[in-house]
């Protein structure tokens, strides 16, 4: 849970500064005040949690069905960790990064009550390398409870940044926060590369 929480924390700031800028105006649109924002934000976060639990269940099920032996699990998780973590590191150093948020799709929906829920769904299904890493982590956990905990860690880490969302528009040095967040995401990727190598070595030694 610790490593997924760290991954959530490191990628969360980038998520806020790309998606937050899309989500924020919609949460604010037509709102009567702070209570409305808090209600919408709660629906948004709750939806994310529900989607993550669904993903955790799916990942655990497929993990259990496909990764039957512990050694095979070490090999597969090791390779997937390295692959997705390299993608995460590449994302942090790439200059052609597109800071677009998938939640932009929701802009076409007219029903304002549905917007926070749809935003939550789209935001949690934004298939980025960080989510792939969590899915791998979740699939290789032994039990469903541990799979949930992995996603819960990611959810807690990444949601922290959304809590002060109403203040996001007032951040003066957005570019600095975004840069630091992206670099921290790359560092989290390095942690997962080490984890992947450890899993592979474990698989080789045990195999």
């Amino acid at each position: 849970m610790l490593d997924t929480f760290i991954l959530g924390l490191s990628s969360g700031s980038t998520c806020l500064l790309t998606c937050g800028m899309v989500i924020f105006p919609y949460l604010m649109a037509g709102s009567a005040g702070t209570r409305k924002i808090i209600t919408d934000l709660s629906f948004f976060l709750l939806t994310r949690l529900v989607v993550y639990f669904l993903l955790a269940t799916l990942a655990w099920y497929f993990g259990k069905a496909i990764l039957t032996s512990a050694i095979f699990r070490n090999y597969v998780s090791g390779i997937l960790y390295i692959l997705f973590a390299v993608m995460l590191v590449w994302y942090s150093i790439s200059r052609n990064r597109k800071p677009d948020c998938p939640a932009k799709i929701v802009t076409t929906v007219n029903n304002k009550k549905l917007v926070p829920v749809l935003l939550g769904v789209v935001n949690s299904l934004g298939f980025c390398p960080a989510l792939f890493l969590i899915l791998t982590n979740s699939a290789t956990q032994g039990t469903l409870a541990r799979s949930y905990l992995a996603f819960l860690g990611f959810f807690a880490g990444s949601s922290l940044y959304f809590l002060p969302l109403p203040l996001a528009g007032r951040i003066r040095k957005k570019k600095v926060f975004e840069t630091v967040g992206i670099l921290a995401t790359g560092l989290a990727g390095i942690i997962f590369i080490i984890k992947g190598i450890t899993n592979l070595i474990g698989g080789i030694i045990n195999g």
């Binding site: 760290i6 924390l9 490191s10 840069t179 630091v180 967040g181 670099l183 921290a184 080490i194 070595i201």
Partner: protein, 383 residues
């Protein structure tokens, strides 16, 4: 305009420089001698005398020549080398090895250094515990004295600590001076934000795991101080990490770029010190009336603290460590040490004198112990 430049020259006459050195002479004598010189210890007396004279000659030359960086760098590099030597000597005397065992961790016998501070803050605030296996008071390199020293230096000097007090900075400062011209000239300013990302990661991981993660996995200076005994794949991986980061960021990249790459791209304490630049009274200022935007200061800055945009706007960024390299390089003396509240271009000599006195006194007092130890060890070989 030439006359303006001459008038703003920072060098002084021989007599005036001696007069400026006198207070430093007296204070360093009091600190270095400690009032209890053992005259029967010949190598000790010689080491103290050489350290004392050497330091004061450097300080005198700063005033006499008007140059700061090259004399600061001499002391700064000697400090880094002597501190590592002293630490290793101490470890070998106590443990017969540079490495420490799990028993040393359990018995809290690990010497403390200032790089642990960013990881201590969150656990200390939330759990009221110190997550480092060292001694709080007493013993070699205890936690309280190092924290107090860093805190005072950081409040007074800001990121100046990184060029006037950090006993690791001298390593990459030294290697960055090996070549006359850089091989790698263009490095994106994007990477200078990396220490903040490292700070974020190590502060969080340390808070969650309650272990000093930077020391356990990343610190390049473990390669020249002490490290965990290699007893497993994990400890071997850690040792590999320390050596490769030291080789890459402290030796090779500084030589290729002429920049202090470890301080610029990794050190999490440097990130905190950058923030403290906001509160310190001493800053480096650009006099826009004199500056012709030749950008020599941007080229020589070892910490990516200056960009062409900064020069145009007349503001030096928070990354500045007040090493004095840009001040020495500026042909028009447009960039200078200043005090907050005093406009750029005025009271240049006054500001420089105060800053030099405070910062030099700090490094002189802080470094004297380890330099004396090294000199004494050398003299003991012959006397």
């Amino acid at each position: 305009m030439d006359e303006v430049i001459t008038n703003q020259s920072l060098n002084k006459s021989f007599g005036k420089s001696l007069l400026y050195t006198l207070p430093m002479f007296l204070i360093t004598f009091a600190f270095i001698s400690g009032g209890r010189i053992n005259f029967s210890d010949h190598s000790g007396i010689l080491a103290i005398l050489l350290t004392f004279l050497g330091m004061n000659i450097l300080y005198f030359l700063m005033h006499y020549t008007g140059k700061t960086d090259k004399f600061r760098a001499i002391l700064f590099i000697i400090f880094a080398l002597s501190l590592s030597f002293t630490l290793i000597k101490n470890m070998v005397a106590i443990r017969h090895s540079m490495s420490f065992s799990q028993a040393d961790i359990v018995e809290c016998k690990i010497p403390f250094c200032h790089l642990v501070i960013p990881m201590m803050i969150l656990p200390a605030a939330f759990t009221k515990s110190i997550i480092f296996p060292g001694t709080i008071l007493g013993g070699f390199a205890n936690i309280s004295s190092m924290v107090v020293l860093w805190l005072v230096a950081t409040i007074v000097l800001g990121r100046g600590f990184c060029s006037w007090g950090c006993f690791y900075g001298g390593w990459d400062d030294g290697f960055s001076r090996f070549r006359k011209k850089p091989v790698i000239k263009k490095i994106s300013g994007y990477w200078k934000w990396m220490p903040f990302a490292v700070l974020l990661m190590v502060a969080l991981t340390a808070a969650i795991s309650l272990t000093p993660t930077y020391c356990s996995w990343i610190c390049p200076f473990k390669a020249v101080t002490e490290f965990e005994q290699v007893t497993s794949v994990e400890s071997a991986a850690k040792a590999g990490m320390f050596i490769s980061l030291f080789g890459g960021l402290v030796v090779v990249l500084p030589m290729l770029t002429r920049k202090r790459t470890q301080c610029s791209f990794l050190c999490p304490l440097g990130a905190i010190n950058s923030l403290s630049n906001k509160i310190t009274p001493f800053i480096v200022k650009i006099d826009k009336k004199v500056c012709n935007e030749c950008l020599k200061c941007v080229d020589v800055c070892p910490l990516f603290a200056l960009t062409p945009e900064d020069v145009k706007s007349g503001n030096v960024s928070v990354f500045c460590s007040k090493c004095g390299k840009c001040v020495d390089a500026c042909p028009r003396k447009a960039i200078h040490y200043g005090l907050k509240g005093i406009p750029a271009g005025s009271m240049k000599n006054f500001s420089r004198n105060i800053f030099l006195f405070v910062s030099f006194l700090f490094i002189a007092v802080f470094s004297s112990g380890s330099i004396i130890t090294v000199l004494k060890s050398i003299f003991n070989l012959f006397i």
